[in-house]
Amino acid sequence: MNVLSIALFVLFVAFVLGISFYFAGRAKSASGYYAAGGRIHWGINGIAFAGDYLSAASFLGICGMIATAGYDGFLYSIGYLAGWIVALFIVAEPLKRLGKYTFTDALDANYNHRGIKLMAAISTLLVSVCYLIPQMVGAGVLVTPLLGLPHAVGVVLVGLIVITIVATAGMTSTTYVQFIKGALLLIFSLVLVAVVLTRGLSTKPDQGGRVPFRTYQTLAATEAAGGLVLEDGSWQIAAVREAKGLRFVKLLRDGRESWWKAEKDATTGAVKLLESQFTAKLADGTQTVNGAPASKENQLATVGNMEAIAGKTGDEAATGSLNPFKFLSTIGDPRSRIKLWKNASFDDNGGRVTVYYPVFAAGNKVLRPGQRFKVEGTATDRIDFLSLMLALFLGTAALPHILIRYYTVPSPAAARKSTIVAIAAIGFFYILTLFMGLGAMTNGTVNLLDDNMSAPLLARSFGTFLFSMISAIAFATVLGTVSGLIIAASGAVAHDLLDRYAKIIKNDKQKVAAGKVVAFAVGALAIVLGILFKGVNVTFLVGLAFAVAASANLPSIVMMLFWKRTTARGITASIFVGVTSSIGLILFSPTMFELYGKDPLTAPFPLKNPGIVSIPLSFLTLIVVSLLSRAKAAKGTAPAV
């Protein structure tokens, strides 16, 4: 924690709150509160789109995933951007033409059906909450290094600020917060990439002299009848454990223990032990890090470096400044060798140990899919990859907080233009994510406990100012996205449910008041969930939110626009099936089983991403129910549809 970080943080928060209070007067009517009066300029709206969309998942999560899994993290960038094509070509103008304040308005415009209002509002709420979780987790992640506060305090802080933003001036203040944040994010990400390229690559990154490079040892051993025998007699073997099909060895020297990963050469039979880092929860409940009690000073060291750069090692490998193409081609060179880190947990002496061990990957393997998504794995692995890419492509145009931004501009043409500005800004940012992620991977700035911190830690390797700016912008990133999500949820309850479904709203003033009350409630829920989901990669969580949105909302939007036989019942059933199937499949997926503390292999649904099942199922439901309800109406056994 330092004075500059705190000053910038306070300045940002004060500025954001200032904007909210300034615009408070414009949010007296429902139109002003939910749609900024439909008067936002398309250019500002386009950057606000970027501010809304480039959430904690995009900035923190993607950079973190690229830093730990290489190109696989960039797949999210590609998928997230591709989704805007669906938004522009299919959704933007019709939605603007049909809708008023919420996505439900557009869907229900030609039907005026209570079922659609109810289901679409519930779907909006659920998708917003799914999307809120990773944003709040990201907030907690940021506040810890920035202000030295615990994760939970960060989450509460964001929750309170966002509730204030939304409750004071609704969509107007949210729009300007997102505009400013979007612009700053683009500018400072570009600055970060520029300094990464200027620094270049080396095999011993020392963060510009700020953090000495840590060398990890390798010990030679032989396999004997009684077990392993170390060549260096100063070490003693205290235990051998197996996890994930790997062998880990506990060594003792000078009374201090350490864990090493054993690797056996298949041809020579020689064994080498790779020094690892580890955390342990001892039987008495004590937490240790690398064999000493955990404390603020004793934490896992940040990692990430290249062992060989285009075949060169040692001092001669340092490249100096690189242009963007050379940077990528050098890392992706087959002769480059990158040290990545994985982890495994097992029981030891009544306690639980997690070992963080190095693995080495050739550059050409890091800069293509495969580190995380097993495209060369089993059929299930491949289908999972396909499922993820499908959900990312179809999810964007179905996200309620993105869809409502089409109502803030004055015309369908402005909606179209603002989408194009958004594609340009977001596409540019996503290209930068590859450089930021790889920069973190090769500059020793990956936090083993939380890869979400990779981009801010990369910035810190260039000094306090850049770190403080990037962290403050990342914090604003969370504020902007969470504000949009809360507005979407607020509209779903106050406008769709209370006004249009239950018809209990009597006037404009009541609708605004109801929206503000809902903003408080959703903000409080977001705080609780943000604390509960601490430590999960935020991009992964957002990927799941995309799957729910794509399954629940997109089939209805597309079919309503392009299939004349679509009926209100078909839409209602499709949303219901989309929501329940996607969330149901997620709850029974390997990822959730891991979170439950169960063996992921026992999960009834084998895929981590449900989209490939739930999206077609939702489409199919709409078609079948629409045809059936039309047939019934034709026979006169059901009301006309």
């Binding site: 094509i85 070509f89 193409f325 992706g332 491949r382 043409a413 406008h495 709203i505």
Partner: protein, 97 residues
């Protein structure tokens, strides 16, 4: 109740043109995107192929998808804007006669 639009817009004579163009451009992009996904699944090794400037197919295709999206978006916007302008002018002329 209270179901008024946030901002009212008039009739759009270019609506059908825009919808058709949007659908075709969507299909075009979806095919290129699907090609990327399928290539990764069917021939993942091909992603390591150096295409130009030392960059492999994974990077070039990935960046290409992002840039292609922007190019299509600009073409779409240009085409829609031109058609709207022409139809508006034709409408105004029709109104005068």
């Amino acid at each position: 109740m209270l179901h008024e639009p946030a901002a009212k817009s008039g009739p759009d004579p270019a609506f059908l043109f825009k919808r058709r163009l949007g659908a075709w451009m969507f299909i075009l992009y979806a095919l290129v995107y699907a090609g990327f996904v399928v290539l990764n699944l069917v021939r993942p090794g091909s992603m390591e192929t150096i295409v130009f400037g030392g960059l492999n197919l994974a990077v070039v295709y990935g960046f290409g998808l992002i840039i292609f999206a922007l190019i299509l978006a600009l073409i779409y916007s240009q085409a829609c804007g031109r058609r709207e302008k022409r139809l508006r002018a034709a409408g105004a002329e029709g109104g005068r006669t």
